[in-house]
Amino acid sequence: MIQMEYYLVVSTIMMFAGIYGFFTRRNLLAILISVELILNSVDINFAVFNRFLFPGQLEGFFFALFAIGVSAAETAVAIAIIINIYRNIRNIQVKNMNELNG
């Protein structure tokens, strides 16, 4: 059987790939994808901890389920706002979003 550490390595790599992408990507949708990577790595964490460390209960699985649902709702709102930006300036590159700068 695969040990717990291997799952955690995968989730940690996903987490930091997401953080890296969030700061380096220049396209709003790519930034959104990076954030989704972070959220999904958390779901893996919860499922793995629950399965390997506390197999008698379901708290971690339920948390992962709710986190998936909530992040779907957030993504829907984020995409709606990005579409709105596209309608306004025909572009979703971060470099064109410079009207708010002080």
Binding site: L39, E59, S71, E74, T75, N84, I85, L100, G102
Partner: protein, 466 residues
């Protein structure tokens, strides 16, 4: 459960009114919303005395929470009053209902967040408070500013809640529970748990806009509709600050030395950086955004001690800050509606054309800066005293020095209004009745809260420490 139930009732009533009211009846939308919110405040103004927990202690209640919820509801009522002259405009008139439902949904999320007794409940409530908030920030659909601010807000919210969830997953992995009470008994302060604590800070630090998590603040505040900005800076921030205090005291009590160190540096960074950036702002909304970052640092001074006095002074500070900051935003809003001007230079000579507004703005800014005899002085005094009594002497001295800097930039606005000459000052106008009412409410708070000591004593009856 009473505040949540009555708030849900208000949301449903407004929702059905939006669905079924036609033609002439829709003119009564605004008064109806105000009256319903006022009823909601009145129903909940007296807290029920006993602490209890529901749903297997997923929902916990102590009387102090009810007080904070009432304070937040009052803030929302003032925001709804101020929103009137913006909502009757041509491009927002048809979606008034959406505004109320979204606004009150975030308030509902904050209420549940305050009373959460489990990290799952806390997470869902936090998201309920921040997802509709992004819709509100992007509410001005045809303005590019608003959409850009909304995108920045929701992406930062997603990012910080992702980091927070990572922290919570580590806490779950080391303790095997998500309930606050059980987790407090099993935490031991291992390095992994300290890391989880730091990650956890990002979620609420984002909502309070403490310094490493503040990058969205100025842009979102500037781009959002002004009434929404007022709501963001007061109600959303206040609820998150109180929740942070409750969770730090309940869950992280075994790691008190660690979180006090984290908070120590966060407070210094927030107060100083907020102040230094506020000095060079020209746009009034950006200026108030940076001022609110530094005010968030002051609010955290009440948290760091973790004692009952700190909690009292925190809630009192929130109440006073609510009155002063919403007054300032109300005036910025009404000036923006009537003249379209938002820059500090545009305020030159405001005293000559609109003396009453200029005077009220001066009072609000004096209260924010902490000049006696306004309420802001007393709230700052109590919060410094709470931190000082726990031995954070250096921190209080730094905060005091920063108060002097903040006085400089608050007085810049006053100088612009009273002293700077102007060839084309903002024309004289009459503000509408709703805005006047909201300003009267805020000014009553600014003038009376500090002098009427019964408010502070009343809050102190219910507060608790570590």
């Amino acid at each position: 459960m009473r505040p949540e139930l009555s708030l849900i009732a208000v949301i449903l009533l407004l929702f059905f009114f939006d669905l079924f009211a036609k033609g002439k009846a829709r003119d009564y939308f605004q008064p109806l919303a105000c009256v319903l919110m006022a009823v909601h405040v009145l129903v909940n103004v007296v807290p029920s005395r006993e602490a209890f927990s529901l749903f297997g202690s997923m929902y916990q209640y102590v009387p102090m929470m009810s007080i904070v919820k009432t304070v937040m509801a009052i803030g929302t009522l003032v925001v709804i009053l101020q929103a009137s002259n913006w909502l009757v405009g041509d491009d927002t008139r048809h979606k008034q209902g959406e505004f109320y439902v979204l606004l009150l949904s975030t308030l509902l999320g904050m209420n549940f967040m305050i009373s959460a007794g489990n990290f799952l409940m806390f997470f869902i409530a936090l998201e309920l408070a921040s997802v509709p908030m992004a819709c509100l920030v992007a509410f001005d659909k045809y303005k590019h500013h608003s959409a850009e601010a909304g995108a920045k807000y929701i992406l930062s919210a997603l990012f910080s809640s992702g980091l927070m969830l990572y922290g919570i997953s580590m806490l779950y992995g080391t303790t095997g529970t998500l309930y606050f009470d059980d987790m407090a008994a099993r935490l031991s302060g291992t390095p992994l748990q300290v890391m989880a604590l730091v990650f956890f800070f990002s979620g609420l630090g984002f909502k309070i806009s403490l310094v490493p998590f503040h990058l969205w603040t100025a842009d979102a505040y500037q781009g959002a509709p002004t009434t929404v900005t007022g709501y963001l800076s007061v109600v959303s921030k206040g609820a998150a600050a109180f929740t942070l205090m409750v969770i730090l005291m309940k869950v992280f009590a075994p790691m008190v030395a660690e979180w006090q160190t984290v908070l120590f540096w966060l407070i210094i960074a927030s107060i100083t950086i907020g102040n230094l950036f506020a000095i060079r702002q020209q746009n009034m909304k950006r200026f108030l955004a940076f001022s609110s970052i530094s005010q968030a640092g002051y609010v955290m001074l009440g948290v760091i001690g973790g004692n009952a006095m700190g909690m009292t002074s925190l809630v009192f500070y929130l109440l006073v800050y609510l009155a002063a900051n919403l007054a300032a935003f109300g005036i910025v809003n009404v000036i923006e509606r009537n003249s379209g001007k938002l820059d500090m230079d545009d305020y030159n000579g405001l005293y000559r054309t609109n003396p009453k507004l200029a005077f009220l703005m001066t009072l609000a800014l004096f209260s924010l800066a902490g000049i006696p005899p306004f309420a802001g002085f007393f709230s700052k005094f109590f919060i410094f005293m709470a931190a000082f009594s726990e031995g954070f002497h250096l921190l209080v001295v730094i905060a005091l020095l920063n108060t002097i800097i903040s006085l400089y930039y608050y007085l810049r606005v006053v100088k612009a209004m009273y002293i700077n000459p102007s060839d084309a000052p903002i024309a004289t106008f009459r503000s509408d009745g709703y805005t006047r009412l909201s300003l009267v409410l805020c000014m009553a708070g600014v003038l009376l809260l500090g002098i009427a000591s019964s408010v502070y004593d009343g809050i102190h009856l219910f507060s608790f420490g570590l």
